[in-house]
């Protein structure tokens, strides 16, 4: 009798899987869901994967990621594959409710039907979580979701979504198109790295040219700008795969992207992304210009007082402890924003895989005043970042004003 029950259970399970998709489709769907970083918004910190409630701060209010497990009441259990594809690519629920464009359907618009079906199969294979996620409740006028129809008319992409041919006879064209699909469509990198207009829509003419997200800068990802900060395809691939490279380690909003998404991508896909971002023949990475004759300043002394213990007397860093300052991308950016913010706020300890982690960096908001942070940041940028413009106390005050 027991055997019969087991048999029934097994065949019943198999039937469920069959209905939702075969194993390889589900695995592909999981990979795509990771590439699309669904967890970034649909998994709360420390919460059940994809059960929603992650807060996303926008200039219009806080939008919460929803429960996208296959629960019939609170999740997407009643969605058909058609419904899923429509929500994913059009931002409209089966009942006609328009989603806020915090859901990057404007980017996901170009997701192929086959990929959507694979992601659908994956999400339907998850255990349903019978929990209602936190509800988005924006203040008027943004509470009027019908106005989003007008927003979509103005800002959502049309049906022309570019060349998504990832099976060209020319392997380089294939890689470039695959890279664009991973960067612009699935990865929706532009959601953070492209500036937005007053209506919260990305400015297409400034594609991936960098934007302030939260209070940190999501840097310019255009090839010339990347190369000017010392990036090449190898270092970018390493950065995405491992969360760190000679240019620094991921922190702030990018660390969860590594944690949920980029670390899972195949080498071929990472290569395609770097091909798309940096081009077939990338501009040569510019070596950092280090300063000379700056050895008696107060900035240097502040560095030895508070930083050198971990980051090294020569800015070389300590493996597994603290990233190198020499050539660090935060020092090489034109804007001192990220450097100042990190000095002020610190960074929590981060794990980058089984055997790699970086210790917590304390914030120095209490130990250093605005003038001292400005002096320190100026010295760091000149010493190891090739940036000569001075950072002022007023800059520090402005950049850290929200705290």
């Amino acid at each position: 009798m027991r055997i019969l029950w087991v048999l029934l259970a097994v065949t019943g399970y198999a039937a469920t899987v069959q209905a939702a998709g075969d194993t390889s489709q589900i695995e592909r769907g999981q990979y795509l869901a990771r590439a699309a970083d669904c967890a970034a918004c649909h998994t709360a910190k420390g919460g059940t994967p994809y059960a929603g409630s992650h807060p996303l701060a926008t200039p219009f209010g806080t939008v919460y990621g929803t429960n996208i497990t296959p629960d019939d009441e609170y999740g997407i259990g009643k969605y058909s594959a058609d419904d899923f594809y429509h929500v994913l690519t059009q931002g409209e629920l089966p009942d006609g409710t328009q989603l806020y464009p915090a859901m990057p359907y404007t980017d996901y618009h170009a997701i192929t039907r086959a990929d959507s079906d694979a992601m659908y199969a994956y999400f339907m294979s998850l255990k349903p979580v019978h929990v209602q996620g936190k509800q988005t409740d924006l203040a008027w006028p943004f509470s009027m979701r019908w106005t989003l129809n007008a927003w979509n008319l103005m800002f959502a992409p049309g049906d022309d979504v570019g060349d998504t041919d990832t099976d060209s006879a020319d392997s380089d064209v294939t890689a470039n198109n695959r890279g664009r699909y991973l960067v612009d469509t699935l990865g929706h990198c532009g959601a953070c790295h492209t500036p937005r207009n007053m209506a919260g829509a990305v400015k297409d003419d400034q594609h991936l040219q960098g934007a302030v997200i939260g209070s940190y800068l999501a840097p310019n990802l255009n090839a010339d700008s990347m190369a000017a900060r010392g990036w090449d395809r190898d270092s970018l691939r390493t950065f995405l795969k491992t969360g760190m490279s000679a240019q620094g380690s991921m922190y702030s909003e990018m660390y969860p992207v590594f944690h949920h998404s980029t670390r899972y991508l195949t080498d071929a896909d990472l290569d395609a992304m770097t091909r798309y971002l940096m081009g077939k023949n990338p501009p040569p990475a510019v070596p950092v210009k280090t300063a000379t004759g700056e050895h008696d300043g107060e900035g240097r002394q502040l560095y030895f007082n508070s930083c050198a213990g971990c980051h090294g007397a020569d800015g070389q860093g300590v493996p597994h402890v603290a990233t190198a300052m020499l050539g660090n991308t935060a020092l090489r950016l034109d804007s001192p924003r990220n450097l100042v913010k990190v000095i002020h706020d610190g960074i929590q300890a981060r794990e980058f895989g089984a055997f790699e982690r970086v210790q917590a960096m304390p914030g120095f908001a209490d130990a250093l005043n605005d003038g001292e942070i400005a002096t320190l940041a100026t010295w760091l940028r000149r010493q190891w970042g090739g940036q000569n413009d001075a950072v002022t106390a007023a800059d520090v005050d402005e950049l850290t004003a929200d705290e």
């Binding site: 030895f304 007082n305 213990g309 210790q359």
Partner: protein, 191 residues
Amino acid sequence: MSKPHSIPSRSLNVTINGNKQPVEDVPDELMMLDYLHEYRNLTGTRFGCGIGLCRACTVIVDHADGTSEEVRTCITGAHFFEGKSIRTVEGHAERDESGEVTQLSEVQQQFLNHFSFQCSYCAPGFVNAATVLVERLKREPIERDQLERTISAALEDHLCRCTGYVRYYRGVRDAVLATPGTIKSGKSQEA
């Protein structure tokens, strides 16, 4: 003590355990731990991990407003302490004129009572952290039922590789309870 002239140095003025130290040139790059060991012969502060993680190197910085805080000396430059007043593990007990210890601090005594020290390598950090906590609670008393979690929050960053945490914990708890004014509702003497 003569110093090599090729190393950029500047004068350092610091007060340690209530005593103004002789002002002398100290290399710009010197970490505070090395200054304590090599210039002041105060070797009680320990070099542990060298990356600011274990906190065996913790000293107390006393601020003019009467508050105090822990600072890690293995990752903090000596000149960070310019003009500051600090306490090291050598500065807690009372001593007679010859320098012999005559009376341990409450924290030290409670740690001995509970056999908290095993290899003792982490002891300086724990003594300083517990002292900072007791002094903070004297300024800002807490409810008795908040004590356990307050101790955990205050000391959780300190590592003891002998895993003597339970005994340290009991020592800190009894030191707090034996110190008048740390617990609201007049229940601070129940130890």
